[in-house]
Each structure stands twice: as C-alpha cells, then as structure tokens.
Symmetry: D3
Subunit: 150 residues, 6 copies
C-alpha cells in the first residue's frame, strides 16, 4: 500500500493516477482533489498517433482542464507531445513503424507542489499502457510524462 | 494508499518503485520480491548524461541483476537508453543543452507478469526526478521507462 | 523600412522574401534579380507533410530553378527537408501529431554572397507561416531554412 | 526597403530583427517598441552548444524580458531549444559533430499580433548566422525560430 | 573476388548477403549455412514504411528465423527498426517526406562470431537499395544494419 | 568469393571496401580504380564523435578526394554526418551515452554507376566496426552509409 499524504507533486500525481486501477484509482482521484488538483483519466488505443492527441485534448476540454485561449491549448498540446515522445523513447511513430499502442492517460492541473502557488499553475499529461506489434500479447509496457506551465 | 496485490506488472513495478519513498518504498521492495522480481533502487544527479548510464549499470552489476555476458549488458544498456530518451522527450542531451537532472532510478528483472514464465525474463529501468536549468528550483519532474528481454 | 542594398546573402534573401508581403515582396523580388539571384515564392497549407515537399519541388521545376539532373533535384530535396525539419523544431510530423501548417515558401538560387562565384551556386529554401491545432487561431509562427550547393 | 507598418507579428519581428543590421536594425528596434514589444539583440559564437543557451538566457534576464519565476525561464528555455533545434535542422549538435556556429540572436516579448491582448504574452527567440566546419569560410547560413506563451 | 573464409561475423554476413547478387549470393548463402548461420533474403519496395517492417517480419517467420515467443519477435522488430533508422540517416520517414525506397533485405541468426557460443545467439537485419523521389532514376543507395541478442 | 565485375555502384563499392580486409581489400581497391573511382580507407576509434568526422575529413583531403572549395567539403561533411547517423540508428551520440566505437571508414568518389557520367560525380562515405560499452568484448557491429553529389 502506498501512502501518498506526503511527498506528492504534480508529475507524481499524474504518474500514479495513470498506473493504478479500481479502488486505488478512486482514492487517488479523491486525494488529488484534496490537494487542489484538477484531474481526469481516460483510455485510448490506436495505430494512428493523432488519435492519442485527439483523445487527450477532447477529455481536457470536456473536463474543463483548459480554457478557450490558445495559450492553454498550446500548453496542453506540448505536454501531450512530450508524453508521446517519452513513450516512443526516441523513435517516434506508431502505425508508420508497424506498432500499436493501447493506453490509459491522465491529465492533472495545479501547482508543481500542492499549495506552493508562487510559480503558478502547470499541466501534466501521462500516457501508460502497452505498445507492440498489432498481434495480441506481442507488446510491452511504456510510459511517457510531459508537463508545462499553463 | 495503493494496494498492489493485483494488477502488478514489470513496468508498473519499476515505475512505482522509482516514485515512492520511505515506508512505501520498503513495502514495494518487499512486495516485488514476493512476486519473484529482483530489484534495486539508486540515485544519480548530473549535467553529464554518461553518468546516468554509469550509475545504473554499476548498480545493476553490484546487485546481481545482470550476469557477465554481453547480451545481458546489452539488454540493460538499451533499457537505460530508452528510459533516458523517454525522460528527454524527443530532445536528447543534458549539459549540451544547458540543463541538469537530479534523478532516482529503479531496475527490475523478472517476468512481464508475475509467474507468467512463457515469455522468459525481461529487464525494466525507470528514471524519475527533476530536470531543468542548473539553478535551484528551476526544474520540473520527468520520468522515463525502458524495457527489453534478457 | 529595411534597405537591403548592403549585406545581402543567399539565406537572408530567402528569409526576407518569405516573410514580406505586398509592395515589399515585389521590391525584394526585383532586388534579388539585380543581385543575380533566381527566385520564386509560393503558398501551401496542409496536415500532410508530403504536400509541402511536392509544392516546393513543383514550383522550383516550373520556374526553372533546377534542371533535369537528379543531383539538382537532390540538392533541392535536401534543402526542403532541412527547412521542414527546422520548422518542426526537433519533433517532425504534421497530421501524425495532430497539427497543421499554413505556409509560404521561397526558393532562391545563386552565390552564397552576390557576385562571389568562387564557391559556385547554392540553393536555399525557406518555409514560413503558422502551425498549430487544426482549429482557426490555435496556431503560432514557424520558420525553417535549408540550403545546399547545386 | 521593407515597410513593416502593416502585417507585423511576434515571430516576424524576431526574424527581421535578427537578420537586419545597422540603421535598419535601429529602425526595427524602434518600430518594435512602438508596437508594444520588449526586445533585445545579441551575439554568440561557439562549438559548445550550451554557450548559445547561456548567452540568450543571460541577455533576456539582463534586459528584463523574463521575471524571476521558473515558469518564465521555462518559456524562454523552450523557445531557445526550439530555435536551436530549428537551426540544427534535425541533426542536433555543434562540436560533437565537428561544426561551429557564429550567431546573432533576437528575443521579443509581447502579443502574437500587436495590440491583440486576448491570448496574452508570448516570447520568441530567433538565432541566425553561419554554421560549418571550424575553418574560415567553410560555413553557410542557418536560422531557427522558437516561441511559447509566457 | 572476396574470400569470406576468414574474418566473417554476423553483421558482415548480413551486409554482404544483402549487397551481392546472382552466383555470389548463392555462394554466400551456402557459406553462411556452413558457418552455422540461419539466413534468408527478400525484396520490398514502398513509400509506406510499415510495409518494410511487415515484409521482413513475414519472411523471418516463414523461414523459421524466430519462434512464437514475443521476446524473439521483439529482438527482430528492434533490429528492423535499427536498420530502418540507419537507412533513413537521422530523418525518419518515406512517403511522409515524399520519398520512396526500393530495397533488398537480409536476416541472419547465429553467434556474433561463428562458433563462439559463449554470448548466445543474435539476430541481424540489413536493408539495402535505393531511396529517393518517386520518379525513376531520382534516387541513390542507402544501407541500414540492426542487430540484437535473441 | 564475390565477383564484383558486374553490378558495382558507388555505394556498394564503399560498403564492400569498408567490410573486407587483407587481399580482398587490395583487390577491391584495384577494381574500384579500374571502374574510375577515387577511393581510400582508414581507421578511427573513439568515444568522442568529433574524432570520427576529423579522421574522415583529414583522409579525404590528404588523398585528394575533395578540392579546396567549401561546396566539396560540404558534400563530404554531410556524407559523414549521414553515415554517422546511420551507424547510430536513431539515437545519436557516443561518449555522451556511454558508448564507444572502433571503426574502419571508406570514402569513394565517382559516378553513381561506373561510366554513367550524365549525373556527374558523387561522394560516398561508409563507417563500419563495433560499438558498445567501453569494456572489451561488450560491443556489436554497426554500419552507416552516406552519399551526396559533389
Ligand atoms: Mg520543460
Ligand atoms: Mg521494445
Ligand atoms: Mg549544410
Ligand atoms: Mg508550440
Ligand atoms: Mg545495440
Ligand atoms: Mg540524399
């Protein structure tokens, strides 16, 4: 069991939220809100990398994690791009290099450390799941994390 | 609190081990061993990216996570390289692009899913910490994960 | 007002031609020809990166900026590729990472410095415009420049 | 002569400021300020890429283009990184791949379009100069542009 | 004439097999088998990079160069990916950047040096052919080599 | 034994010259000259990637493979850069990512196909050897090929 009451931070929150499931996920959502974070979690699977960007952006807008200004969308977009690059580990592409990804994603908005408002709000995006050949079981875990001021 | 008894996997083990601290870290180490994983955790900070590779390789050898054959060192090396690329998010380099990283790392060896021996052993490396300008507090969290069969 | 009579060079010519509009553009075209440069300017917008390459190559052939030999097409192609990479800033792709570009391009052929024939002819390609989400106004400026001997 | 009174924008301002010299540069600085932009220009040459980052960051701080918060330094850093990547055209590195750069840089802060305050302030960095072998005259022009909300 | 009886190795075997044709290719296949290598050669041409991956993976499975376990497919996949990256020389993509490739490929499995079993089996993939504009004759040679323990 | 009298081409010549040794190498040099190629072969080993560029450029100049004009040095440099990128397979760097390379290199200048003068002269650079940890035997073969019109 992991007790998160101490040492939580924006990136760690995004990473833990994306990897845990079931009751732990519900507890994490609750705890995140208590720390002042706005957050959401979703699911996307595809060989078309653009669908990953679309899924995260759509969820962020629907859940009110970004407002209508381009500067907010830009911060979100670059965070997804960084998480995507992180998950691809230096060799970008899904279908173009014959691989597929089945992913969960988390988006968290708030201070880098809970309550530390001096550096304003940031947004973090984490992608976690399996990547591999488009054949069942021919895949291994991947994780990417991106974050930017918003 | 996160209960890991269900749904654990090699990559998730590496990610959770690298982000948690204190009692939770000790519990994670214990639980990992019960699942049949060999694992270790360490610390490295530098503007010289080669030191990150050296720190993880040295720890892996000292803790007996790889044997003397090059094929094992190769699996470890490529896992560190993938984790490093993941953490750099598409733009490799530390000191060469005037940034520094203060990191924790975890190394985990075992089956992709505990007890599922049909696909043999794999090795996972996770890097987690802060990256930024070489000025205190001018940094944000990063995380990279790499894994390969061993 | 910028007086270009001094300090002009091949790359600067391509960059200035691609960013200015209206009367300034006409003046720039005229001045470039007086300096012995062959040049043209065009427009392309797409989420499909191949269309950018096609638009520049088609214009260059139509305007007689390259001859029929592959070595000329190769110099042009690599100049477009460099300009494209420059505009993408380390993370290549348009539609594959859910972004779109609305661009102007310029192509200039001649000596690196007007009248300095000792190093022969070079070709420069500049791409300038806006890149961003496929939503009106959700975009910012980008510029890429590539050049090779021809 | 280029008349900038119409069609100016943040990125174009940075690009024009970095390429023009002498009286045109002074006119550009003046015009930029009238449009509400904060801007500066400097010079750096090196085979050590970190020195380019240091030179731009130092100038930005000295000229008051960024405040003390990390979120501002982060926006500046990523803009330099994008400009650097743009100038390197997909193959990063200077001394590590035996090439050198002699550069001018410009930094401009303000609205994407002058007076259009709805999307807040952005920062643009342009790098322009010559890159090539560390032998006099063995070099050609390069240009990179990066920009982020601040 | 090249006498291969001395100094052969896994990577060299893959490179020589992919570049030679006719009788020399038949001799190379024979000699490779005598050294204990399992090997095959095939052909693929496309603007769609995924087809290159598919052609090599299909041939490897059909010829029995990999077994049913994911760890073997993973070693093969990463070898193709390395060969593909090598052939693209730092700027990945075919049709997305308006270029096409007409290729031969070789796959070789065995010890890094014939008879040296202490480091187990490795798999090497070589891609060789022409890459260029989708216009006949507008192309030049490329070669990529990737290898991993299996 | 490989008979090269048929099917030779510039890139294949560079690749064969770099992989063969002893008598076969001498025969290859002789045959290459008969086909009208200018060529040379050398050796370089380092963790410092710049030394690879320096070794190839020095040999090319000493052997008269390029003249004094920058356009020739530029064609050579980009060919080395492409070969280096090819050998690094998408993840550039040697010492910065704690790996070393012991290499042979070949440089060949001439028509893409012997006697086919319509597309002028090109230059090809091949790098071949072993790359790995800076520990004896912890390495595997790599090969990179680059070519450009000259
Ligand atoms: Mg950042
Ligand atoms: Mg993998
Ligand atoms: Mg160049
Ligand atoms: Mg942007
Ligand atoms: Mg390797
Ligand atoms: Mg080429």
């Amino acid at each position: 069991m992991i007790n998160l009451e101490k040492n939580i931070s924006l990136g760690k929150m995004a990473v833990l939220l994306v990897v845990v499931t079931g009751e732990a996920e519900a507890a994490m959502q609750k705890q995140g809100k208590e720390f002042g974070y706005t957050l959401c979690k979703g699911k996307v699977g595809s060989m078309d990398s653009a669908k990953i960007f679309a899924a995260v952006e759509t969820a962020a807008k629907k859940e009110g994690l970004v407002d209508q200004r381009y500067r907010e969308e830009h911060a979100l977009y670059h965070s997804v791009l960084e998480a995507y690059n992180g998950m691809c580990r230096g060799q970008d592409g899904l279908g173009t290099i014959l691989r597929s990804a089945g992913l969960l994603f988390s988006i968290v908005r708030g201070n880098k450390l809970p309550g530390n408002t001096s550096d304003g709000e940031w947004i973090a995006v984490a992608l976690y799941g399996n990547m591999g050949a488009p054949i069942k079981g021919y895949e291994h875990e991947v994780l990417g994390l991106g974050m930017n001021p918003i």
